[in-house]
Symmetry: C2
Subunit: 243 residues, 2 copies
DNA sequence: AACGATTAGATTGTATGCAAACAAGAGGGC
DNA sequence: GCCCTCTTGTTTGCATACAATCTAATCGTT
C-alpha cells in the first residue's frame, strides 16, 4: 500500500483561515510553515513519497506544492534529482533587505500617490477603502498579539501589513513580486521577531500616516528607514549570538 | 483515447539550446513562446486537455508548465476554474518599467562593486570570468542579429544580457526576482524591439564599461537611464500607433 | 416573462501504476 | 591496489483513471 488511497479528506483539516479550495494549496502552506519552523532543516532532502505519507495526500499535490515553494525560493529542485530545502535565508539576508528597501520604498511611494488622488479626485474607490480598513485591523491585532507575546503570529501580521501596503499601490506587479520573496522575508523575520517585533510595530503607523497624507517622498523615506532598521536589528542580533 | 498514450518523446524536439532534462520544462518554454507570439491571445482560456493534445503530452506536464508560467505572471489561474492567459502586459507597462529601474539599477551597482573587489582582491573567481565572457558573446551575437534584422532573436538576447548582469551581482535573489518578471518584460520588449532594439543595443556596452570600471554609482545611473529610455521609447511607440 | 433551483456536461484536482533517469555499490580488468 | 563497468535499488517524471467541483442550460415556480 504505497499511497494513502482512501478518501481521507478529513485528516487534520488545518487552517480554516484562508479558503482552502484545493488540497495542494493547503499542503503547500503546511510545508512552508514547517520549513520556517525548522521541521525540515535547510539543505535537507524533500522526498515526494515521504512527504506524501507525512501530509496524507498523494504525490501530485506534493509536487505542485514543491513547485510553488520553489518559485518562492524556499525549495530548490533539480530534474530527476529531487528537491531540498533552500539554504537558510541567513545566506542572502543582505540581498533580501536591499531588495526590500528599493521595492517597498516604491510601493509606499505609489500608495501615497494614490492616496493623494483619492482625496482630490473625489472618487471613493471601494477597494482602496477596504484595504485601508484592513490595515487598521492588522495594526490593532498586532497590538494585542504583542501584549500577549505571541510573536509567531506577529510575523504573519507583519507580512500581511507589508502586503497591504503593496496592494494600496494598486499595482499587481508589485504585489506579485513581493509575494515572490515573502517566504524568505517571513523566515528571516521570524528569527528576530522577539527582539525587533515590539520595536518595529509602531513604525508601521508612521508609514501609513505618510501615505494617508499623500506625501510620496516622505512615505518612501519612512518605509526605507523602517526596513533599514529591521536590517540593522537583524545583524545586531546575529552578532550578539554567533553561537 | 483521451490522452496521447504512446512513448512519443520525439515529436518535434524543439530547442537544443538549453538542456531539456524534462518534458515539462520544454513544454513550458513552448507555451511561453506561443503566448508572447500571440498564438494564445490575452484573456484566452487555456484548457489542459486541449493543450495536452496540442503539445502531445499528458495533462501533468501541462499543469506544471502552467504553474510555472503563473509564477511568471503570464498565466492566471483559479482553482477548479482553469487558467487563462494574463492580460497583455501593456496594462502594467508603467509598473514593470518602474520595477526594472529600481531592481536593475541595484543589480548593476552590485555588479560594479563585485568588479572592483575582483580587481583589488586579486581573486580571479572563475564563475565571474565565465559570465563576463558570456556577456561579450551576447553583445557580439546581438550585433550580428541586428545586421540581419532578426529582431525576434534580439529580444531573447536582450533578456539574456540583463540576466547576465544580474548574475554578475552575485546574488541569487536578484536573479530569481528578475526571472519572476522576465516573461512580461520580454513580452513587452518584443512589441517594440524593431524600433528600440538597434538603438538600445550599444547602450549595453556603456553599462558593462561602468561595471568593469567598478564605478558603482555610475553603473546604477547608466542602467537606470537605459531602462528609462526603453520606457520612453515604448510609450512613444504606443502613442504613434493607437490603432 | 423573469427569476431561482436543479441537473447534465465539461473541466479541474487527485490517486495510482509504470517507465526513465540518477546514484551507489559489487565485480572484474589493468 | 586502483579504476572502470555493470548492475541493482531508489527516486523522480509521466500517463491514465477516477472523483470533486464548477458552469450553464433546463425546468419549474412566482
Amino acid at each position: 500500500m504505497p499511497e494513502p488511497g482512501s478518501r481521507s479528506r478529513s485528516s487534520s483539516a488545518a487552517k480554516p483561515s484562508a479558503a482552502s479550495p484545493s488540497n495542494s494549496i493547503a499542503v503547500g502552506a503546511k510545508i512552508r510553515h514547517d520549513i520556517i519552523k525548522g521541521v525540515h532543516p535547510p539543505g535537507g532532502k524533500l522526498r515526494e513519497a515521504a512527504l506524501a505519507k507525512q501530509y496524507d495526500v498523494s504525490r501530485i499535490p506534493i509536487r505542485e506544492a514543491l513547485r510553488s515553494l520553489e518559485s518562492e525560493g524556499l525549495v530548490e529542485s533539480r530534474p530527476y534529482s529531487g528537491s531540498m530545502v533552500a539554504p537558510s535565508p541567513i545566506e542572502d539576508a543582505e540581498d533580501l533587505f536591499e531588495i526590500r528597501i528599493v521595492l517597498e520604498s516604491a510601493t509606499a511611494k505609489r500608495a501615497a500617490k494614490r492616496a493623494a488622488q483619492q482625496s482630490s479626485g473625489g472618487v471613493p474607490d471601494e477597494r482602496w477603502r477596504m484595504i485601508r480598513k484592513e490595515i487598521n485591523e492588522i495594526l490593532a491585532a498586532g497590538d494585542i498579539v504583542i501584549g500577549e507575546e505571541r510573536y509567531e503570529d506577529l510575523a504573519v501580521l507583519n507580512m500581511r501589513f507589508h502586503f497591504a501596503i503593496a496592494e494600496l499601490s494598486g499595482s499587481l506587479s508589485f504585489v506579485s513580486l513581493l509575494r515572490q520573496i515573502s517566504g524568505k522575508i517571513e523566515w528571516l523575520y521570524s528569527l528576530n521577531v522577539t527582539r525587533r517585533g515590539p520595536q518595529a510595530w509602531p513604525e508601521h503607523r508612521d508609514i501609513i500616516a505618510a501615505i494617508d497624507a499623500g506625501q510620496e517622498t516622505k512615505a518612501a523615506e519612512v518605509m526605507g528607514q523602517h526596513v533599514r532598521r529591521s536590517r540593522d536589528s537583524y545583524f545586531a542580533m546575529m552578532a550578539d549570538r554567533p553561537a
